[in-house]
Structures are given as C-alpha cells and as structure tokens.
Symmetry: none
Subunit: 252 residues, 2 copies
C-alpha cells in the first residue's frame, strides 16, 4: 500500500456488511489500508465482499490484528472517532476542522490512523486512550448514532476533500454573443406586437425589459438561441400555413 496513506482501523466490527460498505467508501476516496481488530465473524467474510462492490478485490489484503495496539504499531498519529465527547484529557475536533491536518501530517511523513469502535457501543475508553485526538461529526442531537460505514465514509471524504481539490465549473458551451441575443429579442418583440401581446403602447418598453431579463438569466448558447428561433417559427408558422390553405392573408 502507498506510504503515508491513512489507515482505517475497525475495532471488533460486528457486521460483514458494514466492513464491505466501509471498504467501498474508503476506495471511493482513495484509501486502501483497512485493518480489522478481532472482527466478530472472522475473516474473510463473504458479506463484506458482496457489499464492497469490488473494492476489497482492488485493495491490498485487509490486515487482521488481535489487538488495537498491534494495529496501530506503525502509526504516528491516531484519531479516535466517537459520538460522545467523553470526559477525556484529549483534544476534541470536529472532523472538518481536523481534516486540514490530515494531509499536512501525511506530507510530514506521519502515518495517521482513524479508529472506529464496534457498531453498538463505539470505542471503549481503553481504545480512546490509545488515540492522540478525538474527532467528532456534528449531528442531530435527537438521532446522533451514525452507521459504522457511514462514519468511515465521512472521514475518507474529508480526507480526500482536503487534498488540493479541483473546482469544476461545468462543461458549458460558450454563451451566445450579445448580437445574437439582440436579434432574437428584436424578432420576438415584432412577433409579439403582431400577436397583440402588448395591451398598450406605453406598457411595451417595460414588458419587453422584463422579457429580456427573464430570458437573459438563462445565458443561452448560440445553439440555444437557434432553438428559440425555431420555437418562435413553429408557434407562428403553423398559422402561416393554415391561413394559406384557407386562401387568407400571407404573412410578410
């Protein structure tokens, strides 16, 4: 496994499904070092494999330990997770605030680890005592117990998120140049006039301003301006044809 990638350590996990879901969540965010301390149902575990959606096959083999001390042997800095901020003499940070350190520690060649307790009870006081720092997630106080794999996900997500993230501003087509919009609005105004949209001449400037505003917000591409022209033609064009059929007026 890569050096200086954080390890995820699950202490006495009960459900294979949670182990598999945790592995999937880890790999979603580039973590591959999963360690289990005395998993209830032993190892390997088919339910874990099934729930991992292939992640366990892509990751280096899970390491199994008899004790948490053993699992932490090569770690330099260890974060414990708990819903309860017990009365312990340790720093307690919200996970996001702690996250800014994660990557810095890795860059400083510190091996870091995140320790998670069993589903029902969470980390014991003995387990927490082996950690340097406690990280918590702010939750609904009336329903604060987060699923084990979900907790792993949040840690992996925050870890991944602090690595110089790239911003995606979308794959948007270039906006139409202003003159194309202007043509569109001039044509629309003509057609609306023909359709007696403006109930009074003095209302017309305000109404057109509102119409321009509402459509400009969409920031049409040139293709979309063409589509809009097509819509106008379709809505008025049928008229032209039918009127021709009845021998009536021909537009323009």
């Amino acid at each position: 496994m890569s050096a200086f990638l954080p390890a995820i350590i699950l202490v006495n996990p009960q459900m294979g499904e949670n182990i598999g879901a945790a592995a999937r969540a880890m790999l979603n965010f580039g973590l591959t070092d999963l360690r289990l301390v005395t998993p209830r149902d032993g190892w390997p575990n088919q339910r874990a494999v099934d729930m991992s959606s292939g992640a366990l096959d892509m990751m280096p083999p899970v390491q199994i330990f008899e004790t948490l001390v053993g699992a932490l042997a090569d770690r330099h800095y260890v974060y414990g997770t708990t819903a309860r901020t017990r009365d312990m003499n340790k720093p307690v940070s919200e996970i996001r605030d702690a996250a800014v350190q994660f990557f810095a520690r890795a860059r400083n060649k510190q091996n870091i680890g995140f320790v998670f307790g069993p589903e029902r009870t969470g980390l014991s006081n003995e387990g927490l005592a082996l950690c340097h720092e406690i990280i918590t997630v702010p939750t609904n106080p009336d329903f604060s117990s987060i699923n084990l794999a979900q907790s792993v996900l949040l840690v992996a997500y925050e870890w991944f998120r602090v690595q110089g993230h790239e911003v995606n501003i979308g794959n948007k087509e270039a906006f139409a140049p202003h003159e194309k919009l202007e043509e569109l609005f001039v044509r629309l105004e003509e057609e609306l006039e023909r359709g007696r949209f403006f109930r009074a001449d003095d209302l017309r400037p305000t109404m057109m301003r509102n119409i321009r505003t509402m459509f400009m917000r969409a920031q049409f591409s040139e293709q979309e301006v063409s589509t809009f022209h097509g819509i106008i033609s379709a809505l008025i064009g049928n008229k032209t044809r039918k009127i021709k059929q009845t021998g009536g007026l021909v537009r323009r």
Copy 2:
C-alpha cells in the same frame, strides 16, 4: 414536516436496505422528508425499516410517487446527483460548493429537493432534465461509484454543516414551483407539436429535454411563467383570431 427542509427523492430505488440506510443518514443530519418514486419492491419495506435503526419510525411517513414530476411538484429548486458530469447545459457544482446555497435557499422560502437515481444506473437523462443544477462529489476516478445511501449521507451532512453559515444568493423573487414549470413545458410541447417543430418523432424527447434545460436555467418566477404563457398565446393566438375571421378552422 417542517417547511423549507430539503426533500430527498429516490428514483426507483432497488434495495430496501439502501432506503433504510438513507433514512438513517437523513435523520442523523435533521432531514425528514423522504420521497420514493416507484421503489422496486413496493412500500412499506421491512428491510428498509430494519436498516433505518428507528429513523423511519421517527420521521413523517415516506411519500410514494408514480413519477419524478409528481415528487417534485412543490419544489422550487432541484439538485440532481450523478457521478458523471454529462454533456448537459446545466451548472455542475461540487456538493460542498453548492452547499453554501442550500440554507440560503431555505431562508428565501425555496423548497429544495435532492434527486438520486437507482443504484446501478444513476439518474436517467430524463431525470436530470428535471433538475436545475447537478451536484457531484469528487472521488477516486478509478472507483467512483458511491453507494446510494452514502450519497444521501454526504448531501445531508453538507446541508447540516452549512446551517448558520449564511450567504446571499440575491433578493430574487420566489421561483415558480416545479408544477408550474411542468404545465408550461407540457403546453409548449403541445404547441410545438402542432407547429411541426419536431421533424421526427424520435428526435422529440431529446429536443424537449434541451428546451427544458435551456429554460430551466433561467429559474423563472411564477410571474415570469405567466409571461411565458402570454408569449405563447400571443404567438399562436393571432392565428386563431385570423382563422376565425376567415371562417376557417378553430383551434382545439
């Protein structure tokens, strides 16, 4: 349910376990409005109840819909989730960057919704077309498929995390609710059909999707939706009057 709390909408979810885990994740972060569109195994679903760890019992009843359009009827602004940022002309934001708007929209009395597709396939293009904005989560490019409930967790977590961090998204008039937009698009499609806008039947879904996308970006207010109806009426209405005058066909 509380007004202006986001709704989580799962389209055609396959696994009851994922629905239950999603409900638990929602309640962990204070969300209680869960809507399902045609869940594969029907509703209620015992596996969902089991996996929710009591969350489904504490939340208002899950609402079931036949269509995504129905599920979105009372929403003003809808975020679609997808791992793939397809070539759609919509804003694409990383979830955390979008999150700063979530709470501001609620304060501006906008009902927001988050739409998630089925486990295997994600949201269809038709589903994405109903959304105003796409949110994505940055992931390991070699293993980017996030479990459904895990995706819900990240949205709920980011939503919870930004409460209290206010941003100004402008003093915009309230957006039209989704059902008003839907009426508009349905009418427009009918009139375009009448005007022979769709050159071939098999092009029609794609063309309408593009049209929806270009106008949804404008985020019309209810007044503006009315204006758009007036524009359509004016463009086609002149025809009706003239045809009547010549003793010809009467529309509808």
